[in-house]
C-alpha cells in the first residue's frame, strides 16, 4: 500500500507532464546537412524506470554492417544476425565493449549486453572492409539525423544536455554540446567548425558478392 502511495504521484506527474517538439539540425562548416549523426539529450534530473526492453539488431547484409551506425540506450541487448550466405567473424577492440562473435550462416548467436557508454567500433576478421559502430547513450532521448541533417524529438519539459556524435566529426564533443530548457527552446542548430573526416562510405555502395576472395 505504501509503495502504491509512493508510485501514484510519479504516475500522476508523468500523465500530466507537458511535452514539446524539439527540432535539431546538424550542418557542416559549408552549411551542408550532415545525416546519420547521433543526437542525444540527457536530462539533468536522472530519469527513473527507463530501462530499455527491446533487443536491437546489428545485421550483416552484403558483407556490410546494417545499420552502419546503431545508437542504443545503455543496458540494451544487441543481436547480431547474419543475413549473408557466408560466415562473418565480428569483433570489437573498443574499451566500451570488447568481444568477438563467430557468425555462422543460418546460426543465431546470443545477443550481447552493452552496459558502458561510448563508441563501439565493429570489424569483421574475414571481410576487412566491413566497419560499423554502436553508440551507447544514457538517455531514452536519442536518434539519428536524416539525410537533410534533421531530427525531431518529443521531449517532456525539463533541462537537458544535447550532444552529437558521428565517426567523421572531428570537433571536440564539448564544443558541440548544448544546454537546453524545454519548453523555452524548440529549434537547435548545430554547426560543425572542423571539416569532416574523408567520406569513405563508398565501401558501402559496392561490396563483395562472391563467397571466395574477391
Amino acid at each position: 500500500m505504501s509503495k502504491f502511495i509512493l508510485v501514484l504521484p510519479i504516475l500522476f506527474a508523468t500523465f500530466f507532464a507537458q511535452s514539446k517538439q524539439i527540432s535539431v539540425s546538424v550542418i557542416n562548416k559549408l552549411n551542408m546537412p550532415v545525416g546519420n549523426v547521433v543526437v542525444y539529450l540527457t536530462p539533468k534530473i536522472p530519469l527513473q524506470c527507463t530501462l530499455p526492453n527491446k533487443i536491437e539488431i546489428m545485421d550483416q547484409v552484403d558483407t556490410q554492417f546494417l545499420p552502419h551506425i546503431l545508437a542504443i540506450q545503455k543496458d540494451t541487448q544487441v543481436r547480431f544476425p547474419n543475413s549473408d550466405s557466408i560466415k562473418h567473424h565480428v569483433y570489437s577492440f573498443s574499451q566500451v565493449k570488447t568481444f568477438e562473435l563467430q557468425l555462422y550462416k543460418e546460426l543465431q548467436a546470443d545477443p550481447l549486453l552493452f552496459s558502458n557508454l561510448g563508441v563501439v567500433e565493429l570489424g569483421c576478421n574475414i571481410h576487412d572492409w566491413m566497419l560499423g559502430y554502436i553508440f551507447v547513450v544514457d538517455t531514452p532521448y536519442f536518434g539519428k539525423t536524416d539525410i537533410k541533417g534533421n531530427l525531431i524529438f518529443d521531449l517532456p519539459n525539463g533541462e537537458y544536455q544535447l550532444n552529437v556524435w558521428h565517426p567523421r566529426i572531428q570537433d571536440k564533443v564539448t564544443s558541440l554540446s548544448r544546454q537546453l530548457i524545454v519548453p523555452a527552446e524548440s529549434e537547435i542548430n548545430i554547426k560543425l567548425r572542423s571539416a569532416l573526416l574523408p567520406d569513405v562510405n563508398q565501401y558501402e555502395e559496392i561490396s563483395g558478392e562472391f563467397s571466395d576472395y574477391e
Binding site: 560466415k87 569483433y91 577492440f93 563467430q102 555462422y104 563508398q202 565501401y203 563467397s211 576472395y213
Partner: protein
C-alpha cells in the same frame, strides 16, 4: 567373481565414456563446421575434336555429346577465435584420371587486429590469389563455365604446396579508399608446371587437377618416342623432383571495392635437368600475371588478366615463351547474369629439337547466361567458339588449325 568382472569392465566403460564424450564433442563442434557444397550437371553438345582426356588434341574438355557431372565439390571450413582457420575442398570429377580427391587444403592464421597494418599466413595446398575470375566456392567461376585459357591452365597445373605470408592494410581502417596487400610464398613441388602448355597448348575448361592427379595429352611421337624426348603422354603436375624451393611475390591494390589490380611474379625455381623414374621432367617455369577488375556499379563489371612467361626443360630440349590474356564483361540483372569473354593465347618455342613442335596459339569467345532460380538452384547455358592451331598436330597427321564449338546447358545446386 562379480568384483573381478566389474573391475575388468571398468576400463572398458571408461574407454566407452571417453569415446562417447569425444563423439559428443565432435558432434557439438561439428555444428560449427561450415559445409558448403555445389553440384553441376550438364548436357553438352561437344566439339568434333576429341579432348586431351581422351588423348586427343582438342582444347575443350568434352569429346562426346551427352549428360555429365560437370562439378561436384564439398568445402569444409571453420574459423577459431584465436585466428586459426582451415579450409578443405574435396571434388568429384567425371572427366580425367583422378576422379575423387582434394583440390585445396589449407590452414590459415589471421590474428584479430584493428591495426592499420596487419598480417596473415597460410600453409597447405592452395592457389595463389592471382585470379579475379575464380571467386566462387571451390575456385569456380561465377561468370562462365568454360574458364579463361589463363585460369584453365592455373587450375590444371598450378598449385602451391607451401607457405604464404601476407602483409596488408585495409583502407577503411585508414579512412582511405585504397587497400593493399603484399604476398610472399615459398613452396615445394609443382616442378612439372609448364608441361601441358608446351605440348598440348592452352585449353579452356573448368577441370581442376586434384592432389595426385595426372593430366593426359595425345601420344605425340616426338614426346613419347624412346629415341625422341621419351616422356610419357601425361604430366603429374604436383611432384617435387629437385628439392628446390619455388617462390612467388604478389601485390594487390584496391580502390574501395570497386577497382582491383593484382600483380604476381611466379618462379618454381625447378632444375630443368632433373628427371624422375617416370621420366617426368622438372620444368623451370616463370611468369608474370596481371589481373584487373572494375565494377561500374553493383551489377556490371569488366575484368581481365594477362599472363606472360617462359618454361624450359632438359638441356633446352623444350623452351617456350607463353602469353595469354582474356577480357570479360559481366552484367547482373536481378537473378540473371550474362558474361562475355574473349581469350587469346600463344606459345612460341626456341629450343634445340626442330622435330618437337611447340608453337601453338588461338583465340576464343565464350558467352554464358546463368539464372538463379533461388538461393540453391541455378540454370545456365553457354556457347563457346574458338579457333586454335598447334604445330605438333602435324606429327599425328592432323590439321594444325582447328575450329571448335561447344554448347553447354547446366543445372546447378548449391548449399
Amino acid at each position: 567373481m562379480n568384483k573381478t568382472l566389474t573391475s575388468s569392465l571398468a576400463p572398458q566403460s571408461k574407454t566407452l565414456q571417453l569415446l562417447f564424450l569425444s563423439l559428443l564433442l565432435i558432434s557439438t563442434k561439428g555444428l560449427a563446421v561450415e559445409v558448403k557444397g555445389l553440384v553441376q550437371l550438364n548436357f553438352v553438345k561437344a566439339s568434333e575434336q576429341s579432348s586431351w582426356f581422351e588423348e586427343g588434341t582438342g582444347i575443350l574438355a568434352y569429346s562426346k555429346d551427352g549428360a555429365n557431372v560437370q562439378q561436384a565439390l564439398l568445402q569444409l571450413s571453420d574459423t577459431f577465435s584465436n585466428g586459426l582457420s582451415y579450409d578443405v575442398v574435396a571434388n568429384y570429377y567425371q572427366l580425367g584420371e583422378q576422379n575423387l580427391g582434394i583440390s585445396q587444403a589449407q590452414i590459415s592464421y589471421k590474428p584479430l587486429s584493428s591495426a592499420k597494418l596487419r598480417w596473415r599466413a597460410r600453409v597447405g595446398f592452395f592457389y595463389p590469389k592471382l585470379s579475379l575470375e575464380n571467386v566462387d566456392t571451390g575456385w569456380l567461376s561465377p561468370f562462365t563455365y568454360t574458364q579463361s585459357a589463363v585460369n584453365s591452365w592455373v587450375g590444371e597445373e598450378l598449385r602451391t604446396a607451401g607457405l604464404e605470408v601476407t602483409l596488408f592494410s585495409p583502407g577503411r581502417t585508414r579512412n582511405s579508399p585504397i587497400s593493399w596487400e603484399f604476398h610472399g610464398s615459398v613452396f615445394k613441388a609443382n616442378d612439372p608446371l609448364g608441361t601441358v602448355i608446351s605440348w598440348r597448348g592452352f585449353a579452356m575448361h573448368d577441370r581442376q587437377s586434384l592432389n595426385n592427379d595426372r593430366v593426359p595429352f595425345a601420344p605425340y611421337p616426338s614426346v613419347i618416342g624412346e629415341d625422341r624426348i621419351f616422356h610419357p603422354n601425361y604430366v603429374e603436375p604436383y611432384h617435387e623432383l629437385d628439392g628446390n624451393l619455388g617462390f612467388y611475390l604478389g601485390a594487390h591494390v584496391e580502390y574501395y571495392k570497386q577497382s582491383t589490380l593484382r600483380y604476381y611474379y611466379y618462379d618454381n625455381q625447378a632444375d630443368p635437368l632433373e628427371v624422375s623414374h617416370e621420366r617426368l621432367y622438372a620444368w623451370r617455369t616463370k611468369f608474370h600475371s596481371l589481373a584487373l577488375q572494375h565494377k561500374f556499379d553493383g551489377n556490371t563489371r569488366v575484368l581481365g588478366q594477362w599472363l606472360s612467361g617462359s618454361s624450359v626443360m632438359g638441356n633446352r630440349f623444350v623452351y617456350i615463351n607463353f602469353d595469354a590474356w582474356y577480357l570479360m564483361l559481366s552484367h547482373k540483372h536481378k537473378a540473371h547474369r550474362i558474361s562475355l569473354r574473349f581469350d587469346k593465347f600463344k606459345v612460341r618455342e626456341d629450343d634445340v629439337f626442330p622435330w618437337d613442335q611447340n608453337n601453338s596459339d588461338g583465340h576464343g569467345v565464350t558467352l554464358a547466361w546463368r539464372y538463379d532460380l533461388n538461393k540453391n538452384w541455378q540454370v545456365g547455358v553457354e556457347q563457346h567458339i574458338n579457333k586454335n592451331s598447334a604445330d605438333i598436330r602435324a606429327t599425328l597427321g592432323e590439321n594444325i588449325q582447328v575450329d571448335q564449338n561447344q554448347s553447354l546447358a547446366v543445372l546447378q545446386y548449391r548449399w
